[in-house]
Assembly symmetry: C2
């Protein structure tokens, strides 16, 4: 670890910003290739129905239509696939409203859209299962036979979970596809010892990632039977592997070209790639498939809804004595809900001797869920952080002091028994306590203040990178990770730091899957944490090679040399130097006597560096309308080393802004038949800029022992505590506990009415 | 060096063949991108003329025409560039027939072609300089003022030449742009000591590489002001650098995507890329520029013509006593002829105490020359190998014994004083002596046998590569060298050998310039020789990483492990093993505990491993028509280790076939005004399949000490001796010496007439 750094810790602008603000960045849907066909989905108008017949002949006969493909075309025999990405089209029955049943491929987007209307599908409606608690009942309609359950790894890619009891899911009712339980001590004794016991049920809806760019994929068939797929995935290798295996290809027969991600937040993993690929293989032509905004709401992969039954107890001395929870995740039509991680966080923020946490993943007739920034954490935290607050108030404790009294520390066991690695929860709480907004709380009776914390264990994944000297003396970093939130800018900074070069001399290129060194999904708060180390190692390798060549040319020992802007020079003898351009020139030329500078680095971290975020919300509640005005929001986060404080601050603000969406605005609404009621941006209430106060960010820098330059993951923690902090502020202002998200004026008003 | 090898030395088919024979390979001209414009050149109808005016308004007004660009648009001020690649369009005067003067850019290729006719250019014809000897005269018309001479490095990239006297070119007449002289001993004394002295002048014409695929380039502008250029260059980094600097861009602003090379032979370096790039930048749209076959003959880069005045002497005891030569290369309109290498070979094949070799590069009003397989060597060898033969016959020596008597050996000085590295010339001559065709010569009076040898020093260039384990347990080699003649197949074999895998498990990917590790031009007989080492090193690195992971998983020391097909296992314990797929799975996954296998290798060789080829030609000369029928051709070559004997044999056959073209068929013909007389494949006499006998190849394997597995460069030597061997066979059959190429029936007949 460098003691002092040149670039690390400086706020430099994102390298991709100029193109983006000028509208020059090309996204997947901007691509056009010769002979390209346009695909358009035919989606189900029922949440649960048997498909009796699909009549495509009229649609096929329309001008410009090349083919209409149905589920039967893709899966002529055997059961329908159980995993969403592989289940490209429904064949025998539809299991959520908006599910793709057929797809029209046509010469133009307009012809495809017209032909969709001409596809006739005969359905026999079935009773829909919409409420997850009802879905758990043994007599509930069965969405899919349990033996078809697939492994679905997306949410798992955002955090690693070990331990816990595996419950025998096969013996549970049909719609329960995953279950877990963590126990410690004796909760009944814990409740018996408690001076206060709170028991409530919390509900959170499906929340959509609502990235600016809808999903799009362009698949181009190779003459050899393979495919090149351009897509906005956050994880090219994962998307490639799933696509290849779905299509029966070898992974290397699919070249995935990762395009710009116009917002992902975990929601851009693999979705359209297999279907686009299947269509390209069937037609022998390039096929583009892009979703409309409404299709995003109908069939993309929102965060799961949750029902959390939580009971906690504490003694007057401030000790939390028991936590008992039943967490039910509404996973929609496919497995993939983050049961384990939700339980671990719910029972892991605070020391508690008696735990009994059980969790269930339940299928319903809704779109299959996916990862969304800190999967499972906002839901669990909304519950536990309100209840901790409520216990503190009930016992007369200051909510921050109560949390400090119980906060987990490095080495304390998580619910699965695994000790927390180094964590900064206590420091974050102490910084919250010191914050002027907390210390100078207003006494306006309609205003209130709430605090909450949220933590995220952080993902780890092996990766590699290389650093190449270019002919002009600049350097290129090549890697396989997709740039989200400016990660490539940070990689440039790391390479520049190691090589003592100005960052302008560093280029970062995300290579396609056939060329890139391996990288995991850009998610799980792990890009900088893991890829940063690979880039650092590759840059160190390149540095060593540069010094070796300079040493021979300058006739000086490598240890007497130093890298400076664009050159290597003999320490203390500034006129004995050689430029990087010269080194490039003599090593990359006919007859050159040095090998090209081509450093490579590999990284594997198995230790996590969890990040904690604490927020202070200041609200005004209008007692007449129930409207909650968010006046101030403070987010304090332990980020390890802030490699680029401006980017880190932006990440924290962005996460907290999404947290405001969870708290006050967002939620996908379904009627009793499973029909979505707000699948447009007119009806789905994303927070607007005017809904957000300036979000004050404070960065705490407790260096990680393993991350590059001490960095920890940043992306996920800031979304976690916001809803709980705002709920606690509402309670502070109005004396009511809101247990269901979003906390709309109607719900607040209802709570106020019930209070009086 | 492995003692025994699994794959190395085996003839496996080229990996790119199936696609090629099925017509599935896509070449540059097959590419179409949205919004693409088509460019078409307006070329000069004079070999030397002043441009008085260019009138484009009528052409611009035609439907579909987007722009007509002239030299003045590209070079508004200052002198015209002196280097061909930078001299994209003529501005003030044209210096060869067919030179591009303007270019039409239109929506369709047809519109562009039509508009070419509408561009009116007003010329003032100037006297053309066509004969290189005349061009050397002080009073010859000046093609370009000498101070504009550019550095032009292409030919230099095929062999490294050191030493020699640099003559002061500035003091020589204007059209002489390069001159060199190598001297040793005292040639006059040498001739005085000789029992036989032969003095002749040899002439060779411009010969075109005549690859199947004409040049094409597609330039796509980036929103950031850069370019992506798809092109069939043999050397992406060189083409990129020249293009970028011509256009005033940084090298990394140009991404060069190397496409399949549909034949190159040295003629595909950089030609259209800068102009295509300039047009894309000016129009802001993708522009494709492809040559017609006639344009290939008019303005691409053939081998230079040569006039070689050679005088040699030898004693009765077989000692060559003196070699004196004046080599004049007709370089066409731009510098770039291989003067030095021609002199080194001409005076270097045989030991000789007295040398005086001078060489000149002369400009004429013809297309600028370029590299063509062993640049300069067929010309020089046609002269020296005939004269050595003639001396042997004059002295009563067997031509092979005479050569063996004088052949240079490892350590003997070349004309520049540099000792020959390890060479196999003697062994090649001995194998020729043993060959059945030589031993069983027919005595038919119209038949004859000739031998000749040719050598090539071989190029060296630093390079790098990487080897990546893929998720399915296959491995990918990534490199920057363009595949010609199956080099990527050989790279796969090298990686497979090192990793003990079947070659089917290895993929080789040529990456574009923004991602690829550095590689030089695929030429100079150096791809396998140099890149093979980088791939070997990268594979060894990957192997070490594989064993390290397997060691941890199998709990065995790495030295107790062995790689077998698809797995690593404990030696002697076949059931303790781990598959490569499993290693991939545990190292490229969320939470994986090993770094991905990503080996890298860098290579630098400074030592050359020259390759020698000896040929035996058996001909029948028709005394009435002068027709020469090539009955048999034997090519024996020291290739070091033949990594893939089938590919090496194919290379040798291909080179010898081109040698037959030099000998009997090919030559670009110009009239006194510099107008080409045979710029079509109807008139330019490429040898047809029926002109070629089966070419018998024998490989001699004197292992190189440095090349991968002992390999030496293979590509260039086989073209060198063919013309001389056939000339010697004609002399043997008919008693006449042909001193001008090609040796057409008319020339043979003329020689026969002069004899009688």
């Amino acid at each position: 670890m460098e003691a002092t750094t040149m670039l690390i810790g400086r706020s430099i602008p994102r390298m991709d910003s100029p193109q983006k603000v000028r509208g020059q960045t090309r996204y997947t849907d901007d691509l056009h290739v010769p002979g390209m066909l346009h695909a358009r989905l035919v989606t189900a108008p029922y949440a649960h129905a048997r498909i009796l017949g699909v009549e495509t002949s009229q649609a096929v006969s329309l001008p410009g239509v090349v083919a209409v493909i149905t589920g039967r075309d893709l899966f002529p025999e055997g059961p329908e696939p159980a995993e969403r990405a592989r289940h490209m089209l429904a064949r025998d029955k539809v299991i959520y409203y908006g599910q793709p049943v057929a797809v029209v491929v046509a010469e133009t987007a307009e012809a495809a859209a017209d032909a969709v209307e001409a596809v006739r599908i005969d359905y026999e409606p079935l009773p829909a299962v919409v409420d997850p608690v009802a879905a758990m009942r043994p007599d509930a309609p069965v969405i899919r036979p349990k033996e078809l359950e697939g492994e679905w790894a997306e949410a798992g890619m955002h955090a690693t979970v070990a331990g816990g009891e595996e419950l025998d899911v096969a013996r549970l009712p049909a719609n329960i596809t995953n279950a877990a339980r963590f126990r410690r001590g004796d909760v009944e004794r814990g409740f018996a010892e408690a001076d206060v016991v709170i028991e409530r049920t919390y509900r959170t809806p499906f929340v959509h990632q609502s990235y600016l760019e809808p999903h799009a994929a362009l698949a181009v068939p190779d003459p050899t039977g393979g495919l090149t797929i351009y897509t906005c995935t956050q994880g090219q290798f994962y998307a490639r592997n799933v696509t290849a295996s779905t299509l029966g290809l070898h992974p290397e027969q699919v070249t995935l070209v990762p395009m710009e991600v116009g917002g992902g937040f975990g929601g851009k993993t693999v979705l359209l790639e297999p279907l686009a690929g299947a269509l390209a293989l069937r037609t022998g032509r390039p096929v583009k498939l892009a979703l409309t905004r409404m299709e995003e709401f109908l069939l993309a992969t929102p965060a799961p809804g949750a029902v959390i039954e939580l009971k906690t107890g504490a003694r007057k001395d401030g000790t939390i004595t028991a936590i008992k929870a039943r967490v039910i995740f509404d996973s929609g039509a496919y497995p993939g809900a983050p049961v384990n991680i939700a339980l671990l966080l719910l029972g892991g923020y605070y020391r508690c001797e008696n735990l009994d946490l059980e969790g269930y993943e339940v299928l319903t007739n809704k779109p299959g869920v996916g990862a969304y920034r800190a999967p499972g954490a906002p839901q669990a935290t909304f519950a536990i952080e309100q209840q901790v607050d409520e216990m503190a108030r009930a016992l007369g404790w200051d909510p921050l002091e109560f949390r400090l009294r119980n906060a987990s520390e490095t080495g304390d066991p998580q619910p699965n028994g695994v000790p927390w690695p180094q964590i900064g929860l206590r420091t974050v709480l102490e910084r919250m306590r010191e914050h002027p907004i907390w210390r100078n709380r207003s006494s306006d009776p309609n205003e209130g203040y709430g605090v909450a914390i949220g933590g995220w264990p952080g993902g780890v994944e092996p990766c590699a990178a290389n650093v190449r000297l270019n002919i002009d003396g600049t350097l290129s970093v090549t890697l396989g990770s997709v740039d989200i939130t400016g990660t490539n800018t940070v990689m440039a900074m790391i390479a520049a730091e190691v090589l003592s070069q100005p960052v302008e001399r560093i280029r970062v290129v995300t290579a396609p899957s056939n060329l890139a060194p391996y990288a995991g999904m850009s998610g799980g708060s792990k890009v900088t944490y893991t890829m940063g180390l690979a880039v650092q190692a590759a840059a160190e390798d390149a540095r060593r090679q540069l010094l070796e060549i300079a040493s021979a040319e300058l006739e000086a020992a490598p240890e007497d040399l130093e890298l400076v802007d664009g050159a290597v020079r003999v320490r203390g003898v500034p006129d004995r130097s050689i430029t990087l351009e010269r080194i490039a020139g003599i090593s990359m030329t006919f007859g050159g006597k040095y090998a090209p500078v081509y450093g490579s680095g590999r990284a594997v971290i198995t230790q996590q560096s969890p990040g904690f975020n604490g927020q202070i919300a200041h609200v005004r509640v209008d007692p007449d309308t129930g409207e909650v005005e968010l006046l101030e929001l403070v987010a304090i986060q332990d980020v390890g080393r802030a490699l680029n404080p401006a980017l880190v601050t932006g990440q924290v603000q962005g996460g907290a802004a999404q947290g405001v969406g969870w708290a006050l605005h967002e939620g996908m609404i379904y009627d009793d038949n499973g029909q979505p009621l707000n699948p447009t941006l007119m009806d789905y209430d994303l927070p607007k800029a005017t809904h957000l106060p300036p979000i004050q960010v404070e960065l705490v820098e407790l260096l990680s022992e393993v991350g590059p330059f001490g960095a920890k993951g940043v992306g996920e923690p800031p979304v976690i505590p916001t809803a709980a902090a705002i709920a606690n502020a509402i309670a502070d202002a109005a004396g009511v506990r809101l247990t269901e998200l979003p906390m709309t004026p109607a719900r607040v008003l209802e709570a106020l009415r019930q209070r009086t």
